[in-house]
Amino acid sequence: MSTIKLENAGFVYQKGMPDEKVAVSGVSLTFEEGDFIGIIGHTGSGKSTLIQMLNGLLRPTSGHVYIDGDDIWDDRSKLREKRFKVGLVLQYPEYQLFEETVRKDIAFGPKNLGLSEEEINSRVAEAADFLKIPEKLLDRSPFDLSGGEKRRAAIAGVLAMRPEVLVLDEPTAGLDPRGRREILDVISNYHKAEKKTIILVSHSMDDVARYASKVLVMNAGGVFYYDTVDEVFKHALELRETGLNIPTVTDILLTLKERGMDVDTDIYTPARAAQTVTQYFKEVEAR
């Protein structure tokens, strides 16, 4: 179990050059262990840069990143070891597949951990099972798989390392609704079964509302909101004003309210929204 803490962390691309670009600045927050955190924000709000600082791929140009209390950049020789605690699935992870077979590809991470042959095999089997990759696919070339299968194989490659914290950068980008649901369910199941911290970057407020327990809203390289889902979506109106997506049902309820229907708008699940609307009509009928 691991806690990640950021202290005034910032990152500037091309620092000191005429075309330097501030991607993240002054972010201080803690990702508590066992939480399922959704990160949302516009393109260019610094989400991807932020998560690449979490496992030491990018070194913050200011501030610190701590994993379990240790600054990950304190001792460079231990950086790799720290990196193993935080599994990062980057955008379009299927482009990182390279081995001859899916099995070998999933084993790449565990092998780098220096595990024994048996341990590697059991982890590959376990990860493949979690991601519902059938046994017969394991001995095929990863390049022969379908898009969704490739994506699952790539995620399995990170899961097999059993990271304490699993970070995923838009794992559902470019998938059809069914593919999206499958991947998100897998992640959610992993969270429930293993009680590991999950950090999910997403464009879809609906997905975040459905799966996450906490939400980090990023705007222009900084933290806009970081709170529980309930608290953050109480600010749905502000979110919408800054041009961010809000869950579809919240959006509908806000519109209904603007049109004069007095409904509760702090709602982000379809079931509760339906309940509120029916209740509203019952009240109207009663009157």
Binding site: Y13, Q14, Q52, N55, L57, R80, R83, F84, G87, L88, V89, L90, Q91, P93, Y95, Q96, L97, F98, F108, G109, N112, L113, F143, G157, V158, M161
Partner: protein, 266 residues
Amino acid sequence: MRDITLGQYINGDSVIHRLDPRIRLILTLVYIILLFILKTIPQMLLALALILGAYALVRIPVKMLLKSLKPIIPIVVFTSVLNMFFVNGDVIFSFWKLSVTRQGLYYAVMLSLRVICLLAGSSLLTYTSTPIELTSALELLFMPLTKIGLPVNDLAMMMTIALRFIPTLLEETDKIMAAQKSRGANLDTGTFMERIRALTPILIPLFVSAFRRADELALAMECRCYNGGEGRTRMNALKIRRSDCIAVVVFIGFCSLIVLSGRISL
């Protein structure tokens, strides 16, 4: 990886930026030929003054020029030192078995100046021309060679595409490296062979994606009815204007003066 700059174009609106890229290319060539004609140090200094004058016109800071000179310093020093010791002539001073001659010293200075001017001249071309401008200039200049069966259009298109994809592939490499590092790939340490082996997880995805992109691009080009460059028109057709003619006259004038100055003074 991100720091690699290729075709270090500097956006600007100077007299030189506005020249037709063909003229820019030809004048650069003339300048390079000039550097090899010149025989004396004073002439070489004039040539240096000429290129510095051009830099002043473009308003490129000297710092930038010095930065681009940095990588060739070892070469300059190495060849200068060799020249100093191994050219026969009047000995100025000697120690052990080596002796520095006056002629040697002269050659050394001459050579250093020549290399510096060469680099300054060709850098000016890349500073003021986008890669696309350069390829279309080359394409038009080589056009007569289509008569002897050289596929100039296709070659130019290939060059344009290659240049276009350098930044894309660099970015891709960055991403793949990040992904494999996240999976614990160890790229920074190990023996030489280990490091080479560690590149496999990066090179294979990179090749796969390069081929995928090539396929997609070919398809996209076909969809837009690309069938070789013949008869293809341009959005920004290159045109020789009066300012180009003036630039040529002025530049050739300076060059001639520099060449002639050798006859008069020394």
